[in-house]
Symmetry: D2
């Protein structure tokens, strides 16, 4: 059978393998709602500008509504022979309303149509992701408030470096996810130009009104160059880039959760709802969700890289290569939404083992920096000298197998005679975190204030979202 829509001059139909490689309906049917919305906007404009009659436009719009209902009701039959969502909809429209269906595609091409549909889809996905991210930030901000004074080790090189609070750690992620939201918002602003009316690539001689369709579909304006409008996939690339960076953030937190759930760290216990067992080792409580979040970053990075590869070196305007834009984008944005939701659930349900955190926070001479700072502030050493003295004291403590705060004063003084008993005031973990009151520092009062500020701000965001 020759293809219904473009087969006019073909003597034989595409081979089976061609249909398999060529058809996109298996994945682009996801665009049905956007496709129908765009067709309705186009149809209304065609009538408004007199390109088609008002009655025809009404018939077409009603037919499109029926199709929407059919698809959402699960009664629509998609056909691979009709290649894609656009042709599936149009063919069904012809069944429903007869030959007038042939007017819908006036002054339009699949090139501007698919660019419009896909942009609308990505825009919707961005809006959903923003809500998901906001919910995750809320979970983190609440944990931060709750644990504003819960001490834990601050690590560099996974070595305990200085004590921090768990709340401070949570707020670091709130900052990251806020930047992610900013990137998505910027991508959304930049994509919000309507390709509809660009035609195949050159524009059209029909007296269309692109501003009307742009407005009807919530775009800020029509895209300014028809060639660019149909050949541009920046919006997918930029969204995937934002998704990749967000995925990196999630992977970092996921890695930490996996570490924290280990018996060796023992900082966190996840609820049963976010833990699985083993078929062979009945005692296991595995942080599968965290591991999968960490791993799914690979999928999102791959989607970005894959689409960059597709677009590299592609001459203008439309090439069929660009059909490869959708599956990976759908998959990546789905995965990201799932990752954020799972992370939100994990964070909300996580039980913090304050005792383990506190114990680790004090290990490894984690207040050595406080000692060095004391030597500068109270004993008048330069920072570099203080640093060297502290190094010698730590070595002595290691040899004596004692924490810094248990070192005899005379031993300390033998290494640096200006040390007085006052030094012990700064060597405890609790004192250490309290002292970090610089802007952005880990002092509990900072953390509490910032957590509350975030909670309020996110509450506003989620109400307006």
């Amino acid at each position: 059978m020759t293809n219904k829509m473009w087969g006019g001059r073909f003597s034989t139909g595409p081979s089976e393998i061609m249909e398999e490689i060529n058809a996109s309906i298996d994945f682009d049917k996801r665009l049905y709602a956007q496709d129908i919305a765009a067709s309705k906007a186009h149809c209304a404009m065609l009538a408004e500008t007199g390109i088609i009659g008002a009655q025809d436009a009404k018939t077409l719009a009603q037919g499109l509504d029926v199709i929407l209902t059919e698809i959402e009701g699960g009664t629509f039959t998609f056909s691979r022979a009709l290649e894609d969502i656009h042709m599936n909809v149009e063919a069904r429209l012809e069944e429903l309303v007869g030959p007038v269906a042939g007017k819908l595609h006036t002054a339009r091409s699949r090139n501007d149509q698919v660019a419009t549909d896909f942009k609308l889809y990505v825009r919707d996905a961005i809006d959903a992701l923003d809500e998901h991210l906001c919910a995750l930030q809320q979970a983190l901000a609440h944990k931060a408030e709750e644990h504003a004074a819960t001490v834990m080790p601050g690590y560099t090189h996974l070595q305990s470096a200085q004590p921090i609070t768990f709340g401070h750690h949570c707020l670091a992620y709130v900052e990251m996810f806020q930047r992610d939201r900013g990137r998505f918002a910027d991508a959304r602003t930049r994509l919000n130009e309507s390709p509809l009316g660009a035609g195949a690539l050159a524009g059209t001689s029909f007296p269309i009104d692109r501003k009307q369709t742009a407005k009807a579909l919530g775009f800020d304006r029509p895209a300014a160059n028809s060639l660019d409008a149909v050949s541009d996939r920046d919006f997918a690339l930029e969204t995937l880039a934002a998704a990749s960076i967000a995925a990196i953030h999630l992977s970092r937190l996921a890695e930490e959760i996996v570490l924290w759930c280990s018996a060796e760290f023992g900082f966190v216990a996840l609820g049963d709802g976010f833990t699985t067992g083993s078929s062979m080792m009945p005692q296991k409580r595995n942080p599968d969700a965290a591991e999968l979040i960490r791993a799914k970053a690979g999928r999102i990075l791959a989607a970005l890289q894959g689409l960059l590869v597709v677009m590299k070196g592609l001459p203008l305007a439309y090439s069929k290569d660009m059909q490869e834009d959708k599956e990976a984008t759908f998959g990546a944005l789905d995965a990201l939404a799932l990752m954020i939701s799972a992370m939100t659930g994990m964070i909300a349900s996580a039980e913090i083992n304050e005792k383990s955190m506190r114990k680790s926070a004090g290990a490894g001479h984690s207040t050595a920096t406080d000692l060095a700072d004391w030597l500068v502030q109270s004993a008048g050493l330069t920072f570099r000298d203080a640093h060297h003295v502290t190094g010698r004291i730590v070595a002595a403590a290691d040899e004596a197998n004692l924490p810094l705060w248990r070192m005899p004063l005379e031993t300390l003084q033998s290494l640096e005679k200006r040390i007085t008993a006052d030094v012990f005031d700064v060597l405890s973990v609790a004192k250490s975190v309290k002292s970090r009151t610089s802007l952005g520092g880990t002092a509990p009062k900072n953390v509490r204030k910032n957590a509350r500020s975030w909670i309020k701000r996110l509450e506003r965001d989620s109400r307006s979202g």
Copy 2:
């Protein structure tokens, strides 16, 4: 509901989001045949070694055969609550044969089970890809024989450099795909060690016989280290790397087909079966299949990159991250098979426009090198001097707007007095290609001989495949 298989100690079931992120049955059901084959081999070995009774083994094997029939007949109901293919099969087995089903998993873990299944799957995919590649090579070798003397431009920088034959060009790809087959074959050899019997990670205290199961499943030997056996995904990475390089080759040929199909080149016309039309521009005959092959390279590169990202920095032995190994691998290997098949169809059906090729082959002073070589061989210049003289002659020809073979002898002699009328013998395209008789050169007799040699060799391969 708590999970049937590992839920013994869980008080509440996994949340909905957890099920969504955790379940793999939607994609790993593809492994059903491998899973059942491996279970049957395991079961036979358990009986042989006396770990379970012979009657139990028979019951289990019969149950597994029923399940295979059910899945292949489309009557099997997969359940997401049962997570993966392994649990779906085992749960059904219990329905079919009762509590004895509980014996099947003796001395086995999902970790060695899934590694075994996935390896078997990749091995099967490699075998199929080898056949596909061989068929593509055959199509190319036949075209090469047919067009052993068909001249076309040989390009560097997409500038006509020296005339070659189309057959020579086809054989260049035969070489590339042969290396691809070599890479897949090497990957197959390297992967062919059985993980079965590695248990969760440590081996087992049951007196199993890993050599028996390895042999039954066509492996060369058992994997030597249980920890490595369950944590290794090299086989997927190496196969994806081989697939990526093959995809690059396909993308290069696809790019050339797109170029050759352009009106400007006009070298090739694809059959209707591998061409599509346009919804707006009825005259178009688009090389969609070539464009999609070119684009799908992006998907395969992405799959490789994605899995490398997943595996990076993963501690031993099994982490749930590794569940992300399958979807991308399945997708990439499917895509590659489709790309090869579509390319084979395109090559076989392509009509070569010899006239256009010949015309382009003679443009751009493509025999300038022949002139330079003549100056060395017949006029005794050093190559560098000959090169400079040729450069001046080409400039003169450009100015006179003449091809080299139409340049007046006196003009040539005014630039280099040692030139004689004999030079015109080497300036035609046909003479040029005929003269390239060095090993691997484009001379038609070379090409014909090599094409025939490949045809025989590939015929043997396809018979034994």
Copy 3:
């Protein structure tokens, strides 16, 4: 020798291999200007807040100025044993000003220091890239104005689809590069928060004023969370993502230039300054710069992917892994600047072969869409019917080996009786492009107006830049 700066407690020095893998001075010396500027800002703040004395601050600042002069004058000796730019500068400072140098690092860590330096560097690079992109847009906009009415084929699938103008094509790229500038500008805004004062990760107990140093270094504000401030490399990732998309745009234009320079297309001749020859084929004029631009996209994509891989799954706060952020970023941003400059030169110097373009623009029944549109607008067919009729007419024209505008009227009427002689008005290339007056369409008057508007706007940008 034990390391001067942190070797206090080490009994043996790092091995040679360790020095080789660990030292970053070979590449991070690039940050010298930023490092010194940040140290001067830090030093001024330490004095302002009374943490160090005013005289000490003056001494330190003078020493830093000397070092800047030494480095820029090429008299500074970098030492690998001192690991990185920070330690090289500080060690030299001590040589210059004595033990007071040890006060500079008070209330600071290499972690916040390097984050500050690297952000300042990336910010500078973004500013330079914006200027480069603006210059490229100017070259394109001028070409667009000049060629507002120069017809060329508009391609889809590299098949001539509809005629467009070369100016329109140029403006499509102006749009793309404008989005690139927008992405860089957004990245710049988002990165512009100062890490300085975050300390190692927890903030500090010294009474520092982070707002002062932020302001002195041109940051909008201090980063709000000390942990995030030192562990964040989003700014590099986002900049590399913007660079990757820009590189894709450049690769597309580069691919087109390579095509256009081929003898088969013959649309463009590059000046000698952007062409190279061949060692063996003296007639070649190779578009090397275009090919290298196309290829260097690979390097930029790789840099993005590489840094994403580095950051994936990294626990907070600083890990040494993050030292791998710089080389690839430097390399990618250098490459992008070079690519843009080379492209600007090529565009500015390119000679357009209008005759070849016009000839190709009329080939392949490129006005078939105009015919279909005429059938809708003047003969009252639905678009789908018009499309089918056009398909049959194109097939007939192919068979008769005639362009559409040479087809006998009676033949046309035999295929669709409503066709009149008026149809020939829309079948010429010039008429076709003139008719595409829809917003963003290719009509010369649209293109001229848009080109002029861009020229003015870009002129303003470059003045203010």
Copy 4:
């Protein structure tokens, strides 16, 4: 100045930006030894076949030897204006031996020349990597023998799953690196076909002997197709793919070392030679080398991805894009060699804290599988029933806060009446690992035997290497 080598027909020289983007001498000078070796082989063949005279050949060879000495002695002046290593060498040759230098490039092109040089370089790099990997395996195998009975936790999901031995863990990596060596060896075999004599792309009319040059350079045979020979970069891609997988293995071990060095795990202490300190926190001993190894995987993955992107969609034969093949390959192979060496040093110098390992190995009911297996083997339960019973026992142990081996017999019997006191024989960590005697299992006697076998085998390899 116009370019000396190919500037015959150019009226103006390349612009400065062109020189910057075009010149490769800054990085391809690395190929000097290979370039000179290949030129000498070519020269000898030209004389042998009578294409040039014997005396000329001798003069050329002597000149080339002088250049080699100059480059290795650091007295050679590289010039960017001469673009690349080939032209730098040839221009110097002309200075040294006069016009006869112009004969060297007879029957050769830069295309086959660079392919030959680069292949030789990659081949040398593979040989060096094989030696490095062998040394790393030796370090691991010796650790394995030493710690064949040292118990540690075997992890899945970073949860203690079953006890294993540290030796067993080391041998898992020996297996991985053996596969890496296999991949490199296969790549080496596949690349070992000589491009020399392929000319620019078409072969040559000179009566060259490609078998002679192939043999002289250690190739197995000449490449069979001249077009493929100059356009092929599979050898770099395949080597980078092998390098990527090796880098993944190294990153996994590096991640483990970072974990093991944490205070929370405390399994390993690295020597001072592989540890660094902190500028602010004097107590830190950071596993920088491990972190850098983990991170540098990103660089290698990026190099692979970048070159795949470069090659994607490139028409035959040579395009300038391919000049981008070298820098990333050099960088990646350098990085890998450094990573392996640093890892070897770390492994050799690592002190194992057996006490910490043993303590962790017994935590988390790690012998629960042994209990389940005992229930099958001694009490006759099916595995699934045994698994459920074990789950209940573990839950009871958790509630009682007791390890399994301290649970009162009557409690166990209340959960499964078939349990006897014999069960306590399998619940200790030492008993557990001893029982895993299946092929590849973790039993100390297995590990010791395998370690010794590897030590012998690797000793042989390193002697023959």
